[in-house]
C-alpha cells in the first residue's frame, strides 16, 4: 500500500480533528499541580499541570482567565476544566482550560458533606433536640470576633431594639488554627460560669475555609451538648455551616441572629398595653356583673316591694271606706226621700194653697182667724188674706145664717 505524503501541518490538523471528535477529551476535568505558571501580558495564562507520573501543557485564554477569582502560583493543586486539542503550529498537545479551581476547596466541600451526613445520621439536627429559645432573655452571651462587622451589627441591633437585655461578649478567633478551641471554650464558659440564658454564635461571611471552624466536629459536639440554647448567625444567607444545622435556631446573618434573640421594646410595649386593656375590660365586666347582682338585691327594690304591700292595704282600706260611704249615702238618700214625701204631703195640706182657689182667710188685728160671727163686732177692723195680699175692712153688719135665710 502506497502511503500519501503529508505535510506537517496536515498531520497536526488531522490529529486535532480526531481529538475534537472524541466525546471525553472534549470536556474534561484534570487534577494536578501547577508549574511554570506564566501570566502573559496578553492576559492569557500558560502553565503545566503535573502529577507524580506525567505532565501536560495548559493554556487559559484571557476571556476565561479574567473570570478566575483566586490567584494561582506554582505548586498549587488545582482542578482544570476544558478540552484537549493540538496547537497545530507547534504540534503541541495541550489542555485548553476554561475553569480552574483550587483542588483543596473541593476537598473541604467533600469533607463538609461527609460530616453533615455523619451528624445527620447521629440525629444531631433533629427537631426534638432543639432547645426552646427564651422569649425574653435576661442576658445573652455572644461568641464572635471582637474585630469585624459581625459584632458591630449585633451590638447595633442590640442597642436599637431592647433596653431590657444585657449582653456578655466572649471574643474568639473565628478562623484559623485557634478558632475551634476558642469557640468551644467560649461555649463552656457560658454554660458553666455565667447566667446567660441564650448564646449567639456569629461571624461574617467568607469562603468555606474561612468558615471552617464552624464545621469542626469539636465545635459541632459542643453546640449540640450546650445546655444553653444557641442561635447561629454565621456568614451570609447562602453560607451554611454544620453549626447552623446543629444550633437550636439558625439566623441567616449576624444582625438577624441578634434580632431573633431579643424582642424589641416596641413589641413588648404593645403586648403590655394589650394586657392592660384586657385587664381593664375584664374588671369593668366584673363590676357590671356585681352591680347587676347588687341591683337585684338592693334596698330600693326591698322598699318598693314593701311599699307595694302597704299600697295594697291602703287600697283595701279605701275599698272598705268607699263601701261604707255608699251604704251611708243610701241611708241618707232613703231619709231624704222620706222627707221629701213628707214635705209633699205637707204642701198638699197647706191652707195657703186654698187661697189660690179663691178662698180667703179673715183675721182680727191680733191675727186670730175669724171662724164665726161671734168672733167680730160691728165697726171692728179686720184683715182678709187673699192669694196675693191683704185687704183691710170694717165690719158693717153681722148676719147669722138663720137670719140670712
Amino acid at each position: 500500500m502506497k502511503l500519501r505524503k503529508l505535510s506537517v501541518k496536515e498531520v497536526n490538523s488531522y490529529a486535532q480533528k480526531l481529538l475534537s471528535y472524541d466525546p471525553i477529551l472534549n470536556n474534561i476535568i484534570v487534577e494536578g499541580e501547577i508549574s511554570n505558571f506564566t501570566a502573559h501580558s496578553s492576559g492569557h495564562a500558560y502553565f503545566t499541570l503535573k502529577d507524580d507520573e506525567a505532565r501536560i501543557s495548559c493554556i487559559m485564554f484571557s476571556r476565561y482567565f479574567s473570570e478566575v477569582e483566586d490567584s494561582f502560583k506554582d505548586g498549587d493543586q488545582v482542578d482544570c476544566q476544558g478540552d484537549i486539542s493540538i496547537f497545530v503550529r507547534d504540534g503541541k498537545f495541550q489542555l485548553y482550560v476554561k475553569e480552574m479551581k483550587k483542588a483543596g476547596l473541593g476537598a473541604l466541600h467533600i469533607k463538609f458533606e461527609d460530616l453533615k451526613k455523619q451528624y445527620k445520621n447521629l440525629g444531631y439536627f433533629k427537631e426534638e433536640h432543639k432547645k426552646e429559645i427564651p422569649k425574653l432573655p435576661k442576658k445573652i452571651g455572644i461568641i464572635t470576633s471582637n474585630q469585624g462587622a459581625a459584632i458591630e451589627d449585633v451590638i447595633s441591633v442590640f442597642n436599637r431594639r431592647s433596653t431590657l437585655v444585657d449582653a456578655v461578649v466572649y471574643p474568639v478567633s473565628v478562623q484559623g488554627d485557634y478558632a475551634k478551641n476558642e469557640i468551644v471554650k467560649a461555649i463552656e464558659y457560658f454554660n458553666n460560669k455565667t447566667a446567660v440564658d441564650l448564646i449567639i454564635m456569629t461571624r461574617g461571611g467568607g469562603s468555606i475555609e474561612d468558615l471552617w471552624a464552624f464545621n469542626e466536629p469539636i465545635v459541632v459536639e459542643s453546640v449540640f451538648h450546650s445546655n444553653i440554647p444557641i442561635i447561629s448567625g454565621v456568614g451570609h444567607e447562602t453560607d451554611f455551616t454544620l453549626v447552623d444545622f446543629v444550633a437550636d435556631l439558625r439566623a441567616p446573618t449576624p444582625s438577624a441572629a441578634a434580632e431573633v434573640a431579643m424582642v424589641s421594646n416596641d413589641t413588648l410595649m404593645d403586648q403590655l398595653e394589650h394586657l392592660k386593656e384586657t385587664l381593664i375590660n375584664r374588671y369593668k365586666k366584673k363590676l357590671n356583673q356585681e352591680r347587676k347582682r347588687l341591683e337585684a338585691l338592693s334596698l330600693d327594690k326591698l322598699l318598693t316591694r314593701k311599699r307595694n304591700q302597704i299600697d295594697q292595704r291602703y287600697q283595701n282600706l279605701d275599698n272598705i271606706h268607699f263601701k261604707l260611704n255608699q251604704l251611708m249615702n243610701n241611708v241618707i238618700q232613703r231619709k231624704r226621700n222620706k222627707l221629701e214625701n213628707l214635705i209633699l204631703s205637707l204642701n198638699h195640706n197647706n191652707p195657703i194653697e186654698i187661697l189660690s182657689k179663691g178662698y180667703s182667710i179673715t183675721m182680727n188685728t191680733s191675727k186670730n182667724t175669724i171662724k164665726e160671727i161671734n168672733d167680730v163686732t160691728i165697726g171692728e177692723e179686720i184683715y182678709t188674706k187673699l192669694n196675693d195680699g191683704l185687704i183691710t175692712s170694717e165690719v158693717i153688719n153681722i148676719i147669722g145664717d138663720d137670719e140670712n135665710e
Binding site: K135, L136, P137, K138, N146, I155, F158, N159, S162, T163, L164, V165, D166, A167, V168, V169, Y170, P171, K185, Y189, N265, L268, M269, Q271, L272, L275, K276, T278, L279, R282, Y283, K286, L287, Q289, E290
Partner: protein
C-alpha cells in the same frame, strides 16, 4: 431586671385570666385589678427606664 419584667408579665397574664374566671368575689377582683395595674406600671417603668449593659470579657474573665 428583665427577669422581673418577664415575671411581672406572667403575673399580669394570670391576673387577667383570674378576672375572667367568674368565681372570684368583688373584693378579690378589686384587689386583683389594683395589683394588675401596679404590675403594668412597673413593667412600663422597666421598659422606659431600663438600660442594657454590654460587657466584653477579657483574658482575666475567661480564666
Amino acid at each position: 431586671m428583665s427577669k422581673t419584667f418577664e415575671e411581672n408579665i406572667k403575673s399580669l397574664e394570670e391576673i387577667v385570666k383570674a378576672l375572667e374566671a367568674d368565681n372570684s368575689n368583688l373584693d378579690e377582683s378589686m384587689k386583683a385589678f389594683e395589683k394588675g395595674i401596679k404590675l403594668y406600671n412597673e413593667c412600663n417603668d422597666l421598659l422606659k427606664n431600663a438600660e442594657n449593659k454590654i460587657e466584653v470579657l477579657n483574658e482575666k474573665n475567661e480564666e
